[in-house]
């Protein structure tokens, strides 16, 4: 294993992309573990290119109006709502 395969900065960068805050301990632990795991994933380099012959079938249904959850049920697990809408934090 190479010690610097994944730097703490890279872990922080990916955590930012994935929108997961990490504390410093987590960053260090993940950096160490990711080095091992990614090195293992790199053995995929030995895999030959393989033709994929997926037999795909379209699954269609008529585009008809049908029942769905009512608004009250859809909102009942939300921490904050306003006037029948979900209420989230400011976007910027």
């Amino acid at each position: 294993m190479s010690d610097d395969a994944v730097s703490p900065e890279e872990v922080r960068h990916v955590a930012g992309l994935a929108r997961v805050d990490l504390d410093d301990d987590e960053v260090d632990r993940f950096a160490r573990q990711f080095a091992d795991i990614l090195e293992y994933f790199e053995t995929l380099d030995e895999v030959p290119e393989v033709d994929r012959e997926a037999a795909l079938t379209n699954v269609m249904r008529p585009d008809e109006e049908r029942d769905s959850l009512d608004r009250e049920a859809a909102l009942e697990n939300a921490s904050e709502t306003e006037d029948g809408y979900f209420k989230g934090p400011n976007v910027s």
Binding site: A18, V20, D21, D36, I37, E42, D51, E80, P89
Partner: protein, 424 residues
């Protein structure tokens, strides 16, 4: 209950009569039950109460089953030992002090402990078969597309299927009869491949006369000695009843574990993006804009293994790495499929130990994620190939349960049920 099998104990009564009336069922807690909380073993969904039933739950109710509880599980289905659950690990009723296997550990334990007659789990990389093997019960991973995933909280859609547990193959097959079949709410489902009048349960005849069993040598290499011995004893028992075996080679399985984890983590990073704390689930009491609040919510709500997989999945899909990891993993998946097709062209079923090791002691292996991932070597190739498989008790090594896995061709569940029913 001392084993911590259920996250929520709740009786949900089904219709007055039906093929499962009088039957009690444990349902893994990532399968939505209307009005009964469905946590996925996560703090993120600790208080979540779905407003609708999963299709499999509607079918259980119509069939007259009584659901007795929502079974404990690895958080979001991510784990091999049931120790990543926010609600604590499950003790293995068949091997106290040991893990029940993941991620459907609670479901398997419920059947092993007699807390439910049958149970539902979900299998993304072995999560029905692994706990079935560790708890000494039967578990079926159906062909991709046989059972609706509507209402199953998604982890890795292209790999996962809901599957049944039972004490016997016939019990598990009877539950499969109830849940299998197409569903207009899941476009990946197919019509039942059964002939008129056929069921899965009536295939459990135990007749293996003339059955050709292929044994992939790669899936025995490196397995625990006692597990391998128990496996061969079970094959000998099938031979006594008229089956024949030959060795086969599946060279691609050497890369199945890494391909599986790259694909599963990539899909997980996308699927779990929905947990933002706004529409449902844990919500951080944090200051700041959308991104800051969102990131805080996810830091608080997700456990270690879930974060690890989201981050690795995000990494594998990020610019510059997509071709190196994700595309190569898809190549490996196609290769695995081709290998299985070839091996099954001159064998009726393929047999191996379900798990290469007996159940771990609780707490034994939690700190080394890579070691944990490697334990799934025998089960993940089946999910990559979209095939059906069954784990059936094969015996014991040092008093610990060993499972035998049979793999069949797509929609060949009846063949697997017939073969496996010779053992349990």
């Amino acid at each position: 209950m001392s084993e911590n099998i259920y996250i929520t104990e709740e009786r949900i009564e089904g219709a007055d009569d039906g093929p499962l009336s009088g039957t009690t069922v444990a349902v893994k807690d990532n399968i939505s039950t209307e009005g009964v909380r469905t946590t996925c073993g996560s703090k993120m969904l600790e208080e979540y109460v779905p407003p609708y039933d999963a299709t499999v739950v509607s079918r259980l109710k119509e069939a007259g089953a009584t659901i007795v509880g929502k079974a404990n599980m690895d958080e979001f289905g991510m784990g091999t030992t049931n120790e990543t659950s926010h609600f604590g690990s499950v003790d293995n009723p068949a091997a106290p002090g040991r893990v029940p296997g993941g991620s459907s550990g609670g479901s398997a334990a419920a059947v092993a402990a007699g807390e439910a007659d049958v149970a539902l789990g979900s299998d993304t990389g072995g999560s029905v078969r692994c706990p079935a093997a560790f708890c000494g019960v039967v578990g079926i991973k159906p062909t991709y597309g046989l059972v609706s995933r509507y209402g199953l909280v998604a982890y890795a859609n292209s790999l996962e299927q809901i599957g049944p547990f039972g004490e016997t193959v016939e019990d598990a097959a009877q539950l499969l009869d109830v849940i299998a079949g197409d569903d207009e709410r899941d476009a990946t489902t197919r019509e039942l491949p059964l002939e008129e009048g056929e069921t899965y349960a009536d295939a459990a005849t135990g007749d293996v006369d003339g059955l050709q069993i292929g044994v992939p040598t790669e899936l025995l290499d490196g397995a625990d000695e006692g597990v391998v011995e128990t496996f061969w004893d079970a094959i000998a028992e099938l031979e006594d009843r008229g089956a024949e075996y030959h060795e086969v080679s599946l060279p691609s399985v050497e890369h199945a574990v890494e391909a599986y984890y790259v694909i599963a983590m990539s899909e997980a990073s996308s699927n779990l993006a929905r947990f933002d704390g706004v529409r449902y689930g844990h919500s951080a009491d944090a200051e700041g804009n959308w991104n800051e609040t969102f990131a805080r919510t996810r830091e608080e709500g997700f456990g270690d293994e879930v974060k690890r997989r989201i981050l690795l999945g995000t990494y594998a899909l990020s610019a510059g790495y997509h071709d190196k990891y994700y595309k190569k993993a898809q190549d490996a998946r196609a290769w695995v499929k081709r290998d299985f097709d070839e091996a099954l062209s001159d064998a009726d079923v393929l047999a191996s130990p379900t798990m290469p090791v007996p159940p771990f002691e609780l707490g034994e292996s939690l700190d080394d994620p890579l070691q944990m991932y490697l334990a799934d070597a025998n089960t993940v190739p089946v999910n990559l190939a979209d095939l059906p498989a069954i784990s059936v008790p094969a015996g014991e090594t040092d008093g610990l349960p060993v499972g035998l896995q049979l793999v069949g061709p797509a929609f060949g569940e009846r063949r697997l049920i017939r073969a496996a029913s010779a053992l349990a």
